[in-house]
């Protein structure tokens, strides 16, 4: 028995490897990636991530025996005055849950990416960039592990910035592509800058924490919360609200959500891993980790919950009006993150974490399936192009008219074809069977249809919301209806009806290296609900060791029925609009007829980007212009130009003294000596 315990707790010592293993994979690819070849490069990265998953599993087993967890110290980092920050890995049920999700979903996405990037680097015309992708991906896993396993705010911030960096690098992976050749870098910059605004809030929160609590270590801070709450409640409010700014940045909440849709410029595995399953949930994790602070500041909790609820509904409305397959999923992610933030905001930490886990499964599944669809479409596009070319060549042989046909074929090629536009798709159900089924599973899970994972987790959030924040509950319920609607719209537009382009008609299924991870994720999306079944609450009991005093949510049949009904209603509505009859080629979205101007607003994302442009970017640029023209060019520039010119003219005067004649130097020495003597004599 004792031996068993030693074996069990022995695993805790492995904790640092959760970071080191992906780093080793990264270094291997960084140093030898080019010479390894694609297969080896991709599998090394996948193995590194998979090994991290194994370590996470071992930690989880040890936690099963010792649920209180422990802290593993790797070394000292900063010791200055009372500030003492170390590289400490915190092993408790919350962090290990995150590790399992990150490494587990991450590994599947790594494997998928081997197949996806093989095509993508060729499609974009630079196969040598293949290993770089996996370097970034492994670096991301390592940074994310630092984030979730940190035992103090500062180490967490290291991971927080690290994942932000990887996000930036991966959004701009094809940095020379995109609109006007700068579209992708602009998207990357937008993500980076928006996240900096959030990070600024988190930094301020950390400063206030250190100032008032004298430490950045989690337990030390949380222990003193009741004391500080009595002494100065305003401090807690400030901390939690500044932290909320960080959460809004990283988890793409109102008002800082604008970067996430643009982040879809990155390759699709990146969208799945970073911008759906893991990094963007860091904000949710942060609130859950800092639950002691939030519970002590009820008004901040309400703010968080309302931000989450409003985001959920707002983003869901925008998702309805999008025609890019990835943009729909991006807004869906924002909306679902709103659900999670609302949940952890109102104090339903287990429900929020539960939805985080299930969402990681089904949203990664949806994104990867969307990537599969996109690549199928790209294949179809190539096939269509070749067919047109062959046709033209044949015609040319037979008649003079062939020249015209050849021209026509080329004209078609030059017209830009968007393989991500759902209006070009349709009827892919028969062309891509596996992808279709897996997508359907993900879509139904996202819509919240019984018995898939999304049903249980969303229902739990709704139950808690009804008790804790009734106002937010209605927002979330409306968002759930819209969720089912836009996901149904997407499924019908992409997979049903008839092909609306040659590319769609010639699309083909992708190889198993891509479809197998989809299958595994689909399985998880089906079974994920079992993690926290009503009445059993296995996840709740598991997290109880970390997040104390959380009453288990009660399952209510009427509400679950209502939620299911809402989901089915949304899907039905989508069918009646998009599925009743096949959409013709070049169709006008049926919603535009029914909603008119509202649909235009949805399509343009409520003009939020334009609003920010007017409200923030243009005034900022104008202020910069004023400062540069008047202050910089008018005052500072002449000042330093004058200094420089004065120095130069002084120098050109003084250089005459250095004339190269030894005797004049000797005279100068003499005069100097005489002057010093005179001074000494007559002072």
């Amino acid at each position: 028995m004792q031996l068993q315990e030693i074996v069990n707790t022995g695993n805790f010592g492995l904790a640092p490897w959760i970071v080191f293993l992906p780093l080793i994979g990264m270094l291997a690819n960084l140093l030898f990636g080019r010479s390894l070849g694609e297969k080896a490069s991709g599998w090394i990265a996948s193995l590194a991530s998979g090994a991290a998953f194994v370590v996470a599993l071992l930690l989880a087993f040890s936690l099963g025996a010792n649920p209180e967890g422990t802290t593993v110290t790797l070394g000292e980092w900063i010791r200055a005055g009372t500030l003492n920050v170390g590289w400490d890995f915190r092993i408790d049920t919350l962090s290990v849950t995150m590790m399992l999700v990150v490494a587990g979903v991450g590994t599947l996405i790594h494997i998928y990416a081997i197949g996806y990037m093989h095509e993508d680097v060729r499609h974009n015309g630079d196969p040598r960039r293949f290993p770089r992708f996996f370097v970034y991906l492994n670096l991301f896993i390592a940074a994310m592990m630092v984030l979730v396993s940190a035992d103090n705010f500062l180490m967490m911030f290291v991971g927080w910035e690290g994942v932000g960096l990887c996000s930036y690098l991966l959004i701009g992976f094809w940095f020379e592509k995109g609109e006007h050749g700068i579209g992708n870098v602009k998207a990357a910059k937008k993500a980076f800058v928006t996240n900096r605004i959030g990070d600024f809030g988190l930094l301020i929160a950390m400063f206030i924490i250190f100032w008032n609590f004298g430490s950045l270590q989690f337990d030390a801070v949380f222990e003193k919360v009741p004391e500080v709450a009595v002494a100065s409640p305003g401090v807690l409010l400030a901390i939690t609200l500044f932290m909320l700014l960080g959460v809004a940045g990283k988890s793409a909440q109102l008002p800082l959500f604008v970067w996430l849709p643009d982040a879809m410029a990155g390759p699709t595995p990146v969208s799945a891993l970073i911008h759906a399953a893991t990094m963007v949930t860091a904000g949710v994790y942060l609130v859950a980790r800092s639950h002691a602070l939030y519970v002590a500041a009820p008004s901040a909790q309400a703010v968080v919950a309302w931000v989450g609820g409003l985001t959920a509904l707002f983003a869901a409305t925008i998702a309805v009006g999008q025609s890019d397959i990835k943009k729909v999923l991006a807004y869906s992610t924002i909306s679902q993150l709103g659900f999670m933030v609302a949940a952890v905001g109102m104090g339903a930490f287990v429900a929020g974490m539960f939805h985080l886990v299930t969402h990681a499964f089904f949203k990664a599944l949806l994104f990867l399936s969307a990537g599969s669809v996109i690549q199928g479409m790209e294949h179809g596009e190539n096939a269509a192009h070749h067919a047109a070319y062959r046709q033209a060549a044949k015609n040319k042989k037979s008649a003079d008219r062939g020249a015209q046909a050849f021209e026509a074929g080329h004209a078609g090629e030059e017209q830009h074809f968007d393989p991500q536009d759902m209006r070009n798709m349709g009827g892919l159900r028969s062309r891509m069977k596996y992808t279709y089924w897996f997508y359907l599973v993900g879509a139904l899970a996202l819509a919240g249809v019984f018995p898939l994972a999304g049903f249980f987790s969303k229902d739990e959030i709704l139950v808690e919301a009804l008790h804790l924040q009734p106002g937010v509950f209605w927002l979330l319920l409306a968002a759930a209806l819209l969720t089912a609607f836009y996901v149904g719209r997407q499924v019908w537009m992409v997979f049903f009806g008839t092909p609306r382009s040659d590319a769609a008609a010639r699309a083909r299924e992708n190889p198993p290296v891509m479809t197998v991870p989809l299958g595994v994720l689909a399985g998880l999306a089906v079974l994920g609900g079992a993690l926290n079944l009503p009445g059993v609450h296995s996840l709740g009991k598991w997290l109880e060791h970390t997040i104390e005093n959380i009453p288990p949510s009660e399952f209510s049949f009427p509400l679950a029925g209502a939620a299911l009904l809402v989901a089915l209603a949304g899907l039905g509505l989508a069918w009646s609009v998009y599925g009743r009859e096949p959409l013709p080629k070049g169709f006008v979205d049926p919603l535009r007829r029914r909603l008119g101007g509202v649909f235009t607003a949805l399509e343009h994302k409520w003009w939020v980007d334009e609003l920010y442009d007017r409200l923030v970017i243009r005034p900022y640029k104008r202020l910069s212009a004023i400062l540069s023209d008047s202050l910089d060019l008018g005052f500072i520039n002449p000042l330093f130009d004058g200094l420089a010119a004065g120095t130069a003219s002084l120098a050109s005067f003084l250089r005459r003294i250095q004339n190269g004649f030894v005797r004049s130097y000797a005279l100068a020495v003499l005069l100097g000596a005489v002057a010093i003597m005179a001074y000494l004599l007559f002072r």
């Binding site: 003084l654 250089r655 005459r656 250095q658 004339n659 190269g660 004649f661 005797r663 000797a666 003499l670």
Partner: protein, 100 residues
């Protein structure tokens, strides 16, 4: 006994001659000799003071000055040979390329 002031006046005259020679002559060899003149003016003053104050330190200093002057002459003459080889004469005004 000759008064101290006689020595000093002679020393001043020698030193002034040396200074003027360094400033006005262009032949490096002559400049060198003028430098030696200034050294010896200083030496004379040292010895005069040593005698006047009955203190050996001045005499010791003279030996140092003479040693250093010998070393300096060795270096200086070597320089002069080098200058002569490149320029063909030892006019110091010809050696004026290093200027601002």
């Amino acid at each position: 006994m000759v008064p101290l002031s006689y020595y000093l006046v002679l020393s001043v005259i020698m030193f002034t001659l040396g200074v003027i020679g360094v400033l006005v002559r262009r032949n490096a060899l002559v400049i060198f000799m003028c430098l030696e003149l200034m050294f010896n003016a200083a030496n004379l003053a040292f010895i005069a003071f040593a005698l006047f104050y009955q203190n050996l330190n001045g005499q010791v200093f003279v030996f140092f000055v003479m040693t250093v002057a010998a070393a300096e002459v060795a270096v200086g003459l070597a320089l002069m040979v080098a200058i002569f080889r490149t320029k063909g004469n030892i006019d110091v005004d010809q050696v004026s390329t290093l200027k601002g």
